[in-house]
Amino acid sequence: MNRIDARFAEYKKQGRVALVPYVTAGDPGPDTTVPLMHAMVKAGADILELGVPFSDPMAEGPVIQKAMERALEHHVSLRDVLGMVSQFRQQDDTTPVLLMGYLNPVEIMGYEAFAEAAAKAGVDGVLLVDIPPEEAAPLLVALAKHKLDIVFLVSPTTSDERIQTIARSSSGFVYYVSLKGVTGAGHLDTDEVADRVNRIKSYTDLPVGVGFGIKDADSAARVAKVADAVVVGSALVKKIEEFAGSADKLEAAVAGLIAEIRAGIDQATV
């Protein structure tokens, strides 16, 4: 059992909903990321989602676009991100790490070479925005060989038939994108999210995480009532942008928001 499965199995027994913060690796600089990962765990994060910078992040709103641009100013590459994960693993061998990004950097490294290097670094799974299950067969083989999970997205426009295809191809958990649009957008309709999450759960035993539009303790609490994991991205990345000049303040601001959201989730679920 890998770290992601182990966590969800344990949390199921406890009735705990996982908090999954997203930050872009190398934002605002390459040295910030590993200490920030530890700080997030300490503040109550359960699974870390680490963004791999890409020059053309088509599904991101302005907040994460800028984060990727900041990281790319330091030429942070996929190999550098794997280096950060290995460094993180020197002190933390239990918190799952999920890489989020776009296909091209993985494609250029080669699926097999990537999977081998990622597993060796201590990565547990990947979420690649621009590869649907229909195109993923060769990638799935390479990831499975190295026991890496792949998390696919389900969106408000996904048909029931596709939910089944996606659930069959996914491992670790299924990620429900709670609104139409890019990251950091809009307003959350909790009733619709509940309806869709239940529909996904009718097709799979995998845990369901929900992301997009969750920015504070209140929205996280509402989503936590129906989901197994709550993903928070742009709200944290905004803090990073705001405090980019000071590593201490940045860590404190991100940890502070995570602690608030943690409390919101726990109040709603325990």
């Binding site: 910078p53 053309d56 599904a59 590869i131 969106s155 426009t157 996904t158």
Partner: protein, 407 residues
């Protein structure tokens, strides 16, 4: 029966039903777009079987675009080059001044057919943006055009044209602030507004069905050229030449000739300041395979898989990717891909202007520059058809600036 079957098997019939041209093409998009893409695909396939739709499209092409465009024998230039006879397919004479409108007319009709009230488009030089805004005005559709901030400054006249036509031009400030970023931004708009919005992609790239759909709308160029050359010369040409940015004018010319194996095909990319300088826009000549903007194709990218900003005197060729069908035609050897520099393209721009009285677009000037190298090496009874994809009025400021003239 068996003979008919084997003939069918030999016939070119890509992409396959998942949008693949060999290993290229496909659908590489975020999940939210998978539903809308399927809806588009079904609507497109239905419309292409619908006689009323096809009649309306045909009428638009004749009465609004002004087709068929002439196939002009450039006698003076041919004699000067001293080799093959060169014919120009005059897409520059279309309404709005380029081949782009063949596609926007088709996609806008499809948008209306699907009940979409809002169209969005990306643009580099502004030609596709103008062609989209034009058709939107005619059909009464709302139109939003995404354009890189850098390009907005370089192409002020086209920006004003789009505004006159009622379109909203949105400056894109992310990434390199050019065409590729405009495409990213248009995709972000689409994913946010899928209920009422139709995304008109301007070239043969993007997720399936775009590469096939845009090709089918542009194939009118090759179908006409074939008929015209048979009428004027009584035989097929020896070679076709077209510039390749995303590659829509080139595919439009090439596609109806793919099964005519004796017709050679040359796609001409922008070598910018020279391939060896790294400052170019030539993914087929100098790039490698990768995934961007919804499809697998050749890209200008670095060793980490980041897309590198391209350089080309012509904004319409200034794009780091290329249509996946070109990637396939390159690998299969059916078409040849070459490149010419900014300087060579400029020379051809001046030559055609002075010798034939036709001011070509800087994009098309790349194709002409290659013809000027190739034609002299061929016998006088050989025939080249080159796609004059657009007129050069939009480029006169660029050319004047380079020559230190302010107008």
């Amino acid at each position: 029966m068996s003979q008919a079957k084997s003939e069918n098997q030999d016939k070119y019939n890509l992409p396959d039903d998942r949008g693949h041209f060999g290993e290229y093409g496909g659908i590489f998009v975020a999940e939210t777009l998978m539903g809308p893409i399927q809806e588009l695909r079904e609507a497109y396939e239905k419309c292409m079987q619908d006689e009323a739709f096809l009649a309306e499209l045909d009428n638009q092409l004749r009465q609004y675009v002004g087709r068929p465009s002439p196939l002009y024998y450039a006698e003076h230039w041919s004699k000067k080059l001293g080799g093959a006879k060169v014919y120009l397919k005059r897409e520059d004479l279309n309404h709005t001044g380029a081949h782009k409108v063949n596609n926007t007319v088709g996609q806008a009709l499809l948008a209306r057919h699907m009940g979409k009230t809002r169209i969005i488009a990306e643009t580099g030089a502004g030609q596709h943006g103008v062609a989209s805004a034009t058709v939107a005005a005619q059909l009464g559709l709302e139109c939003v055009v995404y354009m890189g901030e850098e390009d907005i400054q370089r192409q002020a006249i086209n920006v004003f044209r789009m505004k006159l036509l009622g379109a909203k031009v949105v400056p894109v400030t992310s990434g390199s602030k050019t065409l590729k970023d405009a495409l990213n931004e248009a995709m972000r708009d689409w994913v946010t507004n899928i209920d009422n919005t139709f995304y008109i992609i301007g070239t043969v790239a993007g997720p399936h069905p775009y590469p096939a759909m845009v090709r089918d709308f542009q194939a009118i160029i090759g179908r006409e050229a074939k008929e015209q050359i048979l009428e004027q010369e009584g035989r097929l040409p020896d070679a076709l030449v077209a510039c390749v940015g995303g590659g829509s004018n080139a595919i439009g010319l090439f596609y109806p000739f793919i099964d005519d194996k004796d017709v050679a095909m040359y796609g001409v990319e922008g070598a910018g300041e020279g391939i060896e300088t790294g400052r170019h826009a030539a993914p087929l000549c100098a790039g490698k395979s990768g995934v961007l903007h919804g499809n697998r194709t050749y890209l200008v990218e670095d060793a980490d898989g980041q897309i590198i900003p391209t350089h080309c005197i012509s904004a319409g060729l200034d794009y780091p990717g290329v249509g996946p069908e070109h990637a396939w035609l390159k690998d299969s050897g059916r078409a040849n891909y070459v490149s010419v520099t900014d300087e060579e393209a400029l020379q051809a721009f001046h030559d055609l202007t002075r010798i034939e009285g036709i001011i070509p677009a800087l994009e098309s000037s790349h194709a002409l520059a290659y013809v000027s190298k190739m034609a002299p090496t061929m016998d006088k009874d050989k025939i080249i058809v080159v796609n004059l994809s657009g007129r050069g009025d939009k480029d006169i400021h660029t050319v004047a600036n380079l020559e230190g003239i302010s107008i």
